[in-house]
Symmetry: C2
Subunit: 340 residues, 2 copies
């Protein structure tokens, strides 16, 4: 198995003519003699040369590829968004390529470079947990390549964005828990530097204040929201002198970790501690007790992100207005928080 | 936001010189005058031209990109394989781009075209359920691009392959169920045209025969192995006059669908019907009863696939021997099949 593709140069060397002449011959350019064309095509076949569609895309400045960057693919939210982006774009003749940042800023930068390298016509991205420096996304913007952010975006970037109303979602959750009789509601949130998690924290804090519940600083923890960290943070909450009677976790994965700890410690859910997650991952309906959570409308987000790209790809001139599409999330109440 | 990248041609038109001259000027070719070089660089800057690293990759025939094709990313098995491929290849300076076939042959062909278009240095793939025609994979081979298949591969393609021993895995499962006292063991299998599923079916049939259990044709069903079809096929099995006392399902997703039906019908698992899945998806440990399943060693498969690519990428000449790396799977026994 040869590890190097035959290039125009290889054919040029074999025939002792210029690379430009080879290229013209393969494109049936009238400036090249029939004899040379035949010779070039014969050698091209012998060397198993494959015409390079990419070269043509480079000339035209269009690849019909859209790059997608997600923190990870093994979350139902992200894979469902991807699925829906793909369905919309495939119908319009675009293919998508997916890269994952694994929540690493460095990896995200390298993903952006990879996608620019492959000449994508646009990038649809959700940012890594680690990302605070926006220089790489600014680079995409400066190249005039349509950039659409979803779920995890930043106002400062001033690009099109699709997501749910995280602030309101926190209010819904806190008010649901109050309706169930909970009085000390803790929040295991994401990192504040990420807009969506900051909005969820703000929503939680404001809802607590609005209903005059104790706004105890010890009840608010920041987390990377993995299953493991959900376990850690739940253990921290259980060590408090005055422990919470409800925990709202900003991700289903961390909520699952929290649930595992509660079960290991034989703490009754929801009667001793009620639990609500975020994201409506499929496992939330399967665990016992089934986990109350927030439906983020991943399908809608994917479709809207794809359609926003299609709009941008059609607009030759500077777009004047940005799309900020904020969907209203839906609270799904299950056994983990149903006391009445 | 402009939707078209500045090309060499744009600069050439602006200066009324040839595209080749622009290219040479940007590459500081000694055949171009300093004056022209300066003019080209000035216009390039004004038009926000971005030097194209891909063009250089095209000349060198190396992109440092590896393409991965999976049936879908929202399965823990595939996302874990991807994760491990990525860890190994990132360390060696390769980036990966991911595409998913959604089990569609047509989509898989389009994925292959996309990856070839982006000039990947290699492709690591697991085939779609629908795929029976191997022409597209043959195309990759004929281009001399390293191709490695994992999990779902085909002997006929004669390329490197990494997977588990599916035939033996079926034996392990059937023998475990027999040890639990089960006497009528059904199998909801995948499609026979896919090698791994055919091997699981053969293993099941041979193990049944070996232990002189009833080899009832009605107990063997082919399925696309989604949650929905797992439900359908479980319903079919329950309608049999002489229904099974154990069901071995060739995928955890379909096993979950089967479990849902058993719970809806109030059939005791494992005492009335024991259940075993395949794949060790994380939810299998979380459902009640926890699902017995097969650990496919996704991490190892990913690492081995990546290392096989690295070997192939280093080998300039035709490799004489193919790697067929078959790992021994591990049976994880949980409550869904534990009768004793």
């Amino acid at each position: 198995m040869a590890n190097k593709k035959t290039t125009l140069k290889d054919i040029a060397i074999a025939l002792n003519i210029s690379t430009a002449a080879v290229s013209k011959a393969l494109n049936d350019d009238s400036r090249i003699s029939i004899k040379t064309k035949e010779a070039v095509k014969k050698v091209a076949k012998e060397l198993n040369y494959q015409p390079n569609h990419l070269a043509s895309a480079l000339r035209k400045g269009k690849s019909n590829l859209v790059g997608v960057i997600v923190p990870r693919t093994n979350s139902n939210f992200f894979s469902s968004v991807i699925q829906n982006i793909e369905e919309v774009l495939n119908k319009k003749g675009y293919n998508i390529i997916i890269t994952q940042s694994n929540e690493s800023y460095k990896k995200e930068c390298s993903n952006i470079d990879t996608l620019l390298f492959t000449q994508v016509d646009g990038i649809i991205a959700s940012m890594a947990n680690e990302t605070t420096n926006l220089a790489y996304f600014e680079k995409v913007k400066s190249k005039g390549i349509p950039l659409i952010l979803f779920d995890r975006g930043e106002n400062d970037l001033n690009v099109d964005y699709i997501g749910i109303n995280d602030y309101d979602s926190s209010h819904m959750i806190v008010e649901h828990l109050i309706n169930q009789g909970c009085k000390r509601i803790a929040h295991i949130g994401g990192y504040r530097h990420t807009r969506i998690f900051n909005n969820r924290i703000r929503g939680y804090v404001d809802a607590i204040k609005k209903h005059q519940l104790p706004a105890d600083e010890q009840l608010l923890l920041e987390s990377n929201l993995t299953i493991e960290d959900g376990r850690e943070k739940m253990l921290e909450l259980l060590q408090l002198k005055n422990r919470p009677d409800a925990v709202y976790v900003a991700s289903d994965f961390a909520a699952l970790g929290a649930l595992q700890i509660l079960q290991e410690k034989n703490i009754q859910v929801p009667n001793e501690i009620a639990l609500v997650g975020f994201g409506n991952e499929p496992f939330t309906a399967m665990v016992t007790p089934a986990l109350s959570t927030i439906n983020q409308h991943s399908g809608e987000i994917g479709k809207m992100a794809a359609n926003t790209f299609l709009e941008l790809a059609d607009v030759a001139e500077l777009k004047q207005t940005l799309n900020k599409k904020i969907l209203q999330a839906e609270l799904i109440v299950r056994d983990s928080s149903k006391r009445k």
